[in-house]
Symmetry: C2
Subunit: 152 residues, 2 copies
């Protein structure tokens, strides 16, 4: 988002609001187009807040991965596409992800059945296969029932 | 590890093995000291593999956080100290963590009681208080029972 904002500003567009983290968990900025309309620009693959999950119980799928060293083409696109596709599945509650050496993605689902449904979606199965064959040196998937939640 | 290795090599020490990811999940290098002993140098705060958890069921504590913008002194030291302290608690099974904009740390415990025991350790309670007061803008703690695990 910030990189895009810098490019947009350099192009001379009329900026209405600089990039900021919004209460709904996305970072965005706002432009005014020549007709006077506001455009809010964001990136839905950049989670900036914990997922807004409901009262437990619900299901968490913890995916911990270690990438292969080679930077395979298609990985980033597929990962982003899978996050979008997951968000459209029944029972989807939210996703959190962070990557350093180790990558951790936690997706939240209304039930274990919903999580299983997502695992079986055809496009996701193809991505899983590519992951096993090329992208990951090692990974663990842990399916868990969240029983308690608290925070700030 | 790599930064330390560069400094050690620059000092002229006899390097026996360059930094490498080991099968047990740590990155380390090896030196030979003047008496001929081998020294293996690693950093236990740099997880490079999924935690070696046993057959489910066991407990996962998913800690998702969003830092405040200010870089408060003491944060990194306390976080590292808490990881060391956690590893010494009864029922500790392992920890995974990654941080981008969002930080995700998942610690694994033999039971929910063991996870609660860690929450109540005095030094950890102090760190939690500092976290609420200064370090985190937002965080969620989710306590979950892992029921299924698979992977590569």
């Amino acid at each position: 988002v910030d990189a895009l904002f810098a490019a947009v500003r350099a192009s001379g567009a009329e900026v209405d609001a600089e990039p900021a983290d919004q209460p709904w968990g996305l970072r965005d900025f706002r432009l005014r187009d020549p007709d006077g309309y506001y455009l809010r620009v964001t990136h839905d693959d950049e989670p900036t807040a914990p997922a807004p999950t409901p009262e437990p119980p619900y299901t968490a799928v913890i995916f911990t991965s270690l990438r292969t060293d080679t930077d395979h083409p298609g990985y980033a696109e597929t990962a982003a596409e899978m996050e979008r596709l997951a968000a459209a599945q029944p029972g989807y509650l939210g996703i959190e992800s962070a990557k350093e050496k180790l990558g951790i993605t936690v997706s939240y689902w209304s039930s274990a059945e919903h999580a299983l449904g997502w695992k079986a979606v055809a496009a996701h199965e193809l991505a899983q296969q590519a992951g096993r064959d090329r992208w990951y040196r090692q990974y663990r998937v842990r399916v868990a029932t969240v029983e308690r939640e608290y925070g700030l």
